[in-house]
């Protein structure tokens, strides 16, 4: 742990991503993104739809290759980190396997790591405890509510105890009450397991409540406009949502996003003028 302290959990250096380069469908999704995340940090990505948040997350996960730039995870190349299962991932849809029980879903990444049955089962039970679903191990995903399914997905992402968790709008499909509950649970779980998190969201309060830093991105091509530090301390509770600092940070993020909005409007206005 102490040796890991001076290695960044994630390091993105001058990363750009162009889809379908050179064709009529070319999309410049990301442009020269630089981001360093320390171990144990909780960082949110926020920005208008289509600005490349999911793309950046997939680059870190090595599910996509950057067109330019370099990405390292845990001091390794992102490709090596993926092979070593150094991260877990969760999406807006839980993406559980219908034909597997809840426990077997959580065991899946462990199966692929070649763990034996006994070790897998005891870890799955441990993870079920962590997400407070100890009585649901033998049920099938479709027997669970949306919030419970999402908790299973988080348990699965964390089953191998990866040092890094990548989440793409994981609570986007949940109702407001469940969502706030899940936010609290996520913070508790990450604190207990000292996991680094990169979290994509559209909700400003969610980003502020969860994060140490909020990364605000511009419309396409996605660039980092501003990184806002949230100083709400490490112990957050429901009281945090009523704190002064909470609202201050929300305002700061909103203004940073508005900046992007103003720019967006200005650029379309200019384009409109050129058209005429």
């Amino acid at each position: 742990m102490s040796a890991a302290a001076n290695i960044s959990a994630v390091e993105v250096n001058g990363a750009s991503k162009i889809f379908n380069s050179g064709t009529a469908n070319q999309v410049d999704a990301l442009l020269d993104v630089n981001l360093t995340i320390a171990p144990g940090e909780f960082v949110s990505l926020i920005g208008p739809s289509g600005c490349g948040k999911s793309t950046l997350l997939r680059l870190i996960a090595n599910l996509l290759e950057p067109t330019q730039g370099e990405i390292s995870v845990n001091g390794k190349t992102s490709a090596q980190a993926r092979l070593d299962q150094d991260y877990g991932m969760a999406f807006q849809q839980a993406g559980l396997f219908d034909w597997r029980t809840v426990s077997k879903n959580i065991e899946l990444p462990l199966e692929l790591k070649g763990w034996d049955k006994k070790k897998r089962e005891s870890r799955a039970a441990e993870m079920l405890d962590l997400v407070k679903l100890q009585d649901f191990g033998n049920m099938y995903p479709w027997q669970l509510s949306g919030g419970m399914q999402q908790r299973v997905a988080i348990a699965r992402a964390l089953a191998a105890h990866p040092p890094l968790l990548l989440m793409d709008e994981p609570f986007g499909a949940l109702d407001e009450m469940t969502r706030e509950y899940m936010q609290g649970e996520l913070l508790r779980i990450c604190a207990e397991t000292s996991t680094t998190v990169v979290f994509v969201t559209h909700s400003i309060p969610e980003a502020v409540y969860l994060s140490n830093r909020v990364v605000v991105m511009s419309p396409r091509p996605g660039r980092i406009l501003e990184i806002i530090s949230v100083n709400l301390g490490s112990k957050r509770s429901e009281l945090t949502r009523a704190a002064d600092g909470f609202f201050k940070s929300i305002t700061a993020v909103r203004e940073a996003l508005r900046g992007t909005h103003a720019q967006h409007v200005a650029s379309t206005a200019i384009r409109g003028a050129e058209d005429r």
Binding site: A61, M89, F91, L112, Y140
Partner: protein, 254 residues
């Protein structure tokens, strides 16, 4: 409530069926219809029980042909769907072909096949059933193997899973319900193909040929008795395919 619904769902068609047969019987008796025009259900049942041994024999022949074709066609269809899902370019060639072949009554080919084999051969009819089943299974299972949730594949890649692991843990389980959907279609189709193939010459020992020969001899009620055997055979195939599906479905709400 649930059991009441279930009882209703069984009794309604049952009552309707009984009423229909009673109406049929009544019409034949009431209008004094000649047996060569329409046989009375009571006569058909009588013929059925008088000829059980011969009907059973013919059913075994047609059913055997259907079963052999169903099994061979299913195995070949599954094998080919794996090959197609592995080589995308092949599937772009074969899938449209398979779908268009499904739309034309290819069992007329049996006439040509009968020419190629000796008159005592069961092969032409079995081959026809195999062909029909093969395409139904191929198209459905290939779909099940390829149309997997992109999130699940992405998750597997994030676990550094090999293509083979993705096949085993995602594609194959995803394709299982597709296989049973295919079998639900293919099972009755195999019986129908086995019958119809008998109308194009070859051996005259199955249900289809018995129906035609009895009609040719004006034994209308006997022909109907064989039709009843054919219905029971088709039902049996369909029922087995549904039972198999339920066994593997684990009560999933799909």
């Amino acid at each position: 409530m649930k059991t009441l619904d279930r009882i209703k769902s069984i009794t309604t068609p049952f009552v309707f069926g009984v009423a229909f047969i009673a109406l049929w019987e009544g019409a034949v008796k009431g209008f004094d219809l000649k047996p060569y025009f329409l046989a009375a259900p009571s006569k058909i049942i009588e013929q059925f029980f008088n000829n059980t041994a011969r009907i059973w024999e013919a059913t075994a022949v047609s059913g055997g042909n259907a079963l052999v074709g169903l099994i061979v066609g299913t195995i070949l269809g599954i094998a080919m769907s794996f090959i197609l899902s592995r080589f995308r370019f092949l599937s772009q060639l074969v899938t449209p072909l398979a779908i268009s072949l499904n739309a034309i009554p290819i069992f007329v080919l049996v006439a040509v096949l009968n020419n190629m084999y000796s008159i005592t051969s069961e092969i032409p009819r079995r081959f026809m059933v195999t062909l029909v089943v093969y395409f139904v299974v191929l198209v459905n299972v290939a779909r099940g193997l390829t149309q997997v949730s992109s999130i699940q594949v992405e998750l597997m890649r994030s676990y550094a899973a090999s293509e083979f692991a993705i096949l085993r843990k995602v594609r194959v389980p995803n394709a299982v319900p597709y296989l049973f959907t295919a079998l639900k279609v293919a099972a009755p189709a195999s019986v129908i193909t086995a019958f119809v193939s008998e109308y194009f010459g070859g051996l005259q020992n199955g249900l289809g040929s018995r129906i035609t020969s009895n009609i040719a001899n004006s034994k209308n009620a006997a022909a109907w008795a064989y039709v009843l055997g054919a219905c029971l055979l088709g039902l049996a195939f369909y029922t087995v395919s549904i039972i198999l599906e339920n066994l593997t479905r684990r009560g999933q709400s799909k």
